[in-house]
Symmetry: C2
Subunit: 337 residues, 2 copies
Amino acid sequence: MDERFAEFDLIDLIASKVARLEPSCGGVGRLRTGIGDDAAITVPGGATATSVDAIVEGVHFDRAWSPPDAISHKAVAAALSDLAAMAAAPGEVYVTLGVPPDTDRAWLKSLAEGFATAAERFSVVLAGGDTVTSPVLFASVTVVGHAPQDTGFVLRSGARPGQLVVVTGSLGGAAAGLWLLSNGPGAADGMDEGLAEALIGRQLRPEPQIEAGLLLGAAGAASMVDLSDGLVADLGHVGRASGVAIEIDSTLVPVQPGVPEVVASAGAETAAFVLAGGEDFELAVTVEESAFLAAREGLAAAGIDLTAIGTVASGEGVSVVGPDGPVEVPAGFEHLA
Amino acid sequence: MDERFAEFDLIDLIASKVARLEPSCGGVGRLRTGIGDDAAITVPGGATATSVDAIVEGVHFDRAWSPPDAISHKAVAAALSDLAAMAAAPGEVYVTLGVPPDTDRAWLKSLAEGFATAAERFSVVLAGGDTVTSPVLFASVTVVGHAPQDTGFVLRSGARPGQLVVVTGSLGGAAAGLWLLSNGPGAADGMDEGLAEALIGRQLRPEPQIEAGLLLGAAGAASMVDLSDGLVADLGHVGRASGVAIEIDSTLVPVQPGVPEVVASAGAETAAFVLAGGEDFELAVTVEESAFLAAREGLAAAGIDLTAIGTVASGEGVSVVGPDGPVEVPAGFEHLA
């Protein structure tokens, strides 16, 4: 059986990235013992936030489109995006891989190394993992974050009528990148090559907004969510958790450059990419206007663009208004066409 | 796409088991907010131990043999067994399910409920989860345990020459149960029905030795490991982590009743089931003889049988001696034949 071979392979690789630690010798971050025992030991300084996430070949990624290290990068990024949305400081990441026995060894090594690279890039400690034989390749990622010293976590349930709805960065890029991957990078008529590359990069190597989450938490964000399912779907989570309605002006939503060209070539509606596209992994917060105005400049100086796109109201549901009145939002986004 | 349906199904089900918590309202155990936000918030009181584990259909279980709630029971039990081996107190469990879209809904509901039932039974809080579409059914389980107040965690690296090697309970049952499941419960000649049922139960619904782990930690266990891969393989982990040799007397290893009959019917060697069988989820510790003698009676009163089966020596490797000299141990155990 190939199981043990694959298992020891990955664990050896991870062990080579995480020094073998003894409780008496300090540790890396909050990690005291990593690989090599029945469990990893950490010493949290206060409250922790934990999130689990999984990606499956053919459902969430396609080997034909994604280099192996992009698959692991995205798996870690997507999991960390949940922590960013809590205003959590990065802590530890644990990876379970399901690996088909006939997987090319060099490809698998790149995938495994991608987890270590992503962990380093996002300042989390790769603290443990497991590999099992599986007929389909999958990765299950557990991330643990820690409460910032001064402020607590930011929940979905803190939205209150009168607050602004604010998003970081720009939207629609990940969905447009997926369209380009499916249809070929030249499929969008007359599109600048650099823009196309940026859209594809947005889909394959997303960036969790960890620093933005921490700064927004410190700046007084009342509620926060990451944009993984799509703007309207994710704001729906906030609305339900807070017992409020959310009203968006679609003309205010920041759109990533190149997305309009893809929308035109796809013969689709902008809403499908920008309001329902998902996987941009930006953050949406609700915040009192005074706090927003006070924080905006400082966050811009840190490279974090904030855009107010709507308001919180009494009631329930997410409504979107455009230049011609109410906008119908497509029900959901399918990760692979 | 069925993904969203399945996802909300499981999360709703878990949410119905985990009260929706607000940070200001106390919580369940160390959990402050569970389902319904981007991440679960916990407040550890000290060091934590975290372990990840996964099971895949056709590799680790077979729907033809396992009722759905036994699959979830075993997934949780196997993960908690790693915590038991650290002498950790049960904390939280997180479950990620990969579900084929054509999975029978009632079957899936039993599987999902099995996670809640197992969590309750083993005194861990089901704190979060995720469901994704997958061509093969899999479950990835993350468990978090907490350091006991008085003593710390027990590592694999504490074995020292002169210590006794001690196991809890009896071995070989899970492997014998698997043989009966593969060959039919009547396949072992003249075997008592109750014994056969107990062996099959050992395979399908194992019990993590959480209380034994805590008591052994308090009693001075120097190193500890759970017996998931097989006695010799798991003691090999201890030997490598501690830099010692381990010598076992096979005649002292406690064997579950009914295993000899299965061994005879299978035309196999006892060692394949008892020394290499795995999945019994008992604990093996190394401990000074004086501490062992002092603790033995108290643990027996708590229903935990301890048996000394060998000693720790200088050197490396695991060696087994039987009545006729050295015993060759089969290399590995295949979970499914």
